[in-house]
Amino acid sequence: MDCQPRKAYLLSRPSLGEGSTPKTKSVTSSQEYSESIINTIREPLIALDQDLRVVSVSRSFYEVFKVKPEQTVGQLIYDLGNKQWDIPQLRELLETILPEQATFDNYEVEHDFATIGRRIMLLNARQIQRVHGKERIILLAIEDITERREIETGLEKAHDELEALATELKRTARAKSEFLANMSHELRTPLNSINGFSEVLFDETFGPLNEKQRKYVSNVLASGKHLLALINQILDMAKVESGKMKLQLSTISTRGILDEVAMLVADLAGKKQIEMTLEIAHDLPDIEADELKVREIIYNLLSNAVKFTPVAGRIGLRAVESSGQIEVSVWDSGVGIATENMERIFEGFFRVDTPYSRLTEGTGLGLPLARKLVELHGGHLAIESKGLDQGTLVKFQLPISVSQEA
């Protein structure tokens, strides 16, 4: 918008008597000069005499407003193009405001033209004393801002819509978290009864069971515990995703935790005659982390290694310090991961259909949850496998000190 006054300045140059057009030169030469300037300008420009009749217009005026020269020059501006220019706002500008102020910038006019439809224009006007004679001429520059206005309005609308969408998203995320919190309570209450009563039955607290009864109650209990683990992991995933999972940070003994979790898993490994190798660096530093979460990460990875390794296979855990972080690798000689499934295993509930997946009880959430928990600590988890039956290596890093982030 601030380019308008500059244009008016250019047009008024002849009257300033600059360069090759001294005041003594003929009127004709000066008129040619000003007309050539008028025609150079991209935007429509009209020169009017003091009776508001058109003296000359720029080339672009004809193009933009689709009028012919013979219908234009000498006409009263309001009569132009079959009285299309009889605009009340323009009358006010030319007859009331301009005589008082001599200039006018960025006067906005909206008008519905018969030939070109509804346009929004910015009008800039200058009233100039002619070099010779006492009459005045009026220069009227017209900038068509219809499209620009449409874009601006569109942008504003898009901005409002985005804001509404962001508010709605926040509301939805909150509703989802509340729903999950309630759902987990509602699901766990009856499930706790199922598990509790089956456990009492299984323990034969109120009398002995026969073999079949014992087996069935044991199945009820195993399924109930599996379901509870699923619900807990889903809730944890939801908490991480909604940013509600808070870490309870303390300085934890990394070596101690790795040893303890490995001991737990050694029991599972032993049942499948799987050999487990531990390589935990002696100088492995303590780290600042959430102890329960770190235990969960390591347990999930190690128990996956056992699950997806056939009888008499090998698994291992290796932990070293590496440039301000600890790096833990869990490897196995098991079923591996086909290249095409590499990313899908982080989706949750994705379990590759192998002979083992049917045999192994699992939620399919252990790995994705482990990765989320590592990332929550500011660490990184990656998985490698050369392909099916080539074993798997999961490697993650945890910073020794978690940077304070919300």
Partner: protein, 121 residues
């Protein structure tokens, strides 16, 4: 003398399971399904321990505990909250009550009675 316990919980299954486990361990057990009933029973029976859910139909368990504390006939009875919300805020709510401890849900059926017994002075 037999130890006595009062369980306040609106969930019939929880009530039955906890009652069975305590009875097997030799407790005499009273039960109530809401806080008002439970408070009356506590005054009447003066149990050695009260086991209570945090979410009760007529008031929060923490409010019921405050009423029990304000009454000199019941202010010496330890209260055990059985609660799933072992979140920071839930723990703070329980820690703010003198005489109260908590056991996390789901209860361990093998250790429940023993754990409850530990809280009786």
């Amino acid at each position: 003398m037999k130890k006595t316990a009062l369980i306040i919980d609106d969930n019939q299954n929880n009530l039955l399971l906890e009652k069975d486990l305590l009875e097997v361990a030799g407790f005499t057990v009273f039960v109530a399904e809401n806080a008002s009933q439970g408070i009356l029973l506590a005054i009447q029976e003066r149990p050695d321990i009260i086991i209570m859910d945090m979410r009760l139909p007529d008031m929060r368990g923490s409010e019921a505990a405050k009423i029990l504390l304000a009454n000199e006939q019941t202010n010496q009875i330890p209260v055990v909250f059985v609660t799933a919300s072992v979140l920071a805020e839930g723990i703070e709510e329980i820690k703010a009550i003198p005489n109260a401890v908590f056991i996390g849900k789901p209860i361990n059926t093998r250790t429940f009675a023993k754990d409850v017994g530990h809280f009786i002075r």
